[in-house]
């Protein structure tokens, strides 16, 4: 089965802003967040999209 348009994970500085049900990675600094998002992007073959300054979502297209 192929997945289309699915949120695989969320990377955030503020846990209250991410959706319930996604795999959430809470980070402490912006740099850490960028790094985690980049790693997840590579691992999951997804794209890291920026929703706001402190939330990234990794989406499979």
């Amino acid at each position: 089965m192929t997945l289309e348009k699915l949120i695989l994970a969320a990377v955030t500085l503020s846990v209250s802003k991410v959706p319930v049900g996604a795999n959430v990675f809470v980070c402490e600094t912006k740099d850490e967040m960028d790094q985690v998002a980049a790693d997840l992007e590579a691992i999951l073959d997804g794209i890291a999209h920026k929703l706001s300054n402190d939330v990234y979502i990794i989406v499979k297209h």
């Binding site: 998002a37 920026k50 990234y56 297209h61």
Partner: protein, 296 residues
């Protein structure tokens, strides 16, 4: 040996030569497979034989013999299926796929070329038998010109203007000129894109062209041809680096974003204007009768 031998030989030779001429190995990289080429040469030979045999069978009043042309038609339809199947299977392994419309266009071309071969060998053997060999040469040449005209379709440069455009970020949004492409979150990725990316805008010359270049199959064909000619800066598992093409909803312009290996904007613009206009993407909304004559 009988009175028809030379006319048939002449028709078969001319037809087969025409099929060889129709092979083009260019930036679209097809056909580059030696065995694929042999298959098409053999089919071209069969097509040429059929075309050359039509005239003698009519002259001998063997009218039922002409029905073998229907056999040829179903045979060549099979060629189209074969090409479609092969290309579709290979398409999933391309870094930038051709897309179904482009594949269908190529498959139809392969089928169509066999009919052109039948036409050429028919015309030349007809001229050979009804006049003489010199008339046959002239007829073959003329048929060749007609075939050449029908062999090459229209190009994108004819119906649209291609311009280079700036690639920029507004927050996380990637833009080519003012056309939104996609959302790229990570700053490192954004830097990579600004460094390697090229952007182009295709402006349709008229209302018909607007629908044609908006076709998703046509857009994928543009990306494939660009990626083949310039190389593409990506690997499997890097969806953020996939070349994309989006449409400006207001005026039908198309924004192309690509990360090429050879960052030559001039070459890219030449390639884009040489992309074939896919037969199944062409739309003619201005031909709609209900609109009245004055409107476009």
């Amino acid at each position: 040996m009988n009175e028809y031998t030379f006319s048939i030989l002449f028709g078969v030779t001319v037809g087969t030569l025409a099929r060889i001429y129709m092979f083009r190995t260019d930036y679209r990289q097809y056909p580059t497979y030696p065995h694929g080429m042999i298959i098409h040469l053999a089919l071209g030979f069969i097509a040429a034989s059929l075309g050359a045999l039509v005239v003698p069978s009519i002259m001998e009043e063997e009218f039922t013999a002409v029905t073998f042309l229907t056999l040829a038609a179903s045979q060549f339809r099979e060629v189209r299926n074969m090409e479609r199947k092969t290309l579709t299977e290979m398409d999933s392994l391309e870094l930038v796929p051709r897309g179904a419309s482009y594949i269908e266009g190529i498959a139809v071309t392969f089928e169509g070329r066999n009919y052109l071969v039948i036409f050429i060998s028919f015309v030349s053997s007809l001229a050979y038998l009804s006049i003489n060999i010199w008339a046959a040469c002239v007829a073959a040449f003329l048929a060749f010109l007609v075939a050449k005209k029908y062999m090459t379709g229209s190009r994108l440069g004819k119906i649209s203007d291609v311009e280079q455009a700036t690639v920029s970020f507004d927050g996380a949004g990637l833009y080519v000129d003012n056309i939104y492409i996609m959302n790229i979150g990570i700053p490192v990725r954004q830097k990579e894109i600004l460094e390697h990316g090229l952007g182009f805008v295709i402006k349709p010359k008229n209302f018909d062209a607007r629908s044609t270049i908006g076709n998703l199959g046509q857009r994928q064909a543009i990306l494939h041809d660009l990626a083949i000619s310039l190389g593409v800066y990506r690997d499997s598992g890097t969806p953020a680096l996939v070349p994309l093409i989006k449409r400006d909803l207001d005026d039908g312009r198309i924004g192309i974003f690509i990360l090429p290996q050879n960052k030559s904007a001039d070459l890219a613009m030449k390639v884009i204007s040489q992309v074939p206009t896919l037969e199944n993407a062409i739309r003619m909304p201005t031909e709609t009768k209900e609109k009245g004559s004055g409107q476009s």
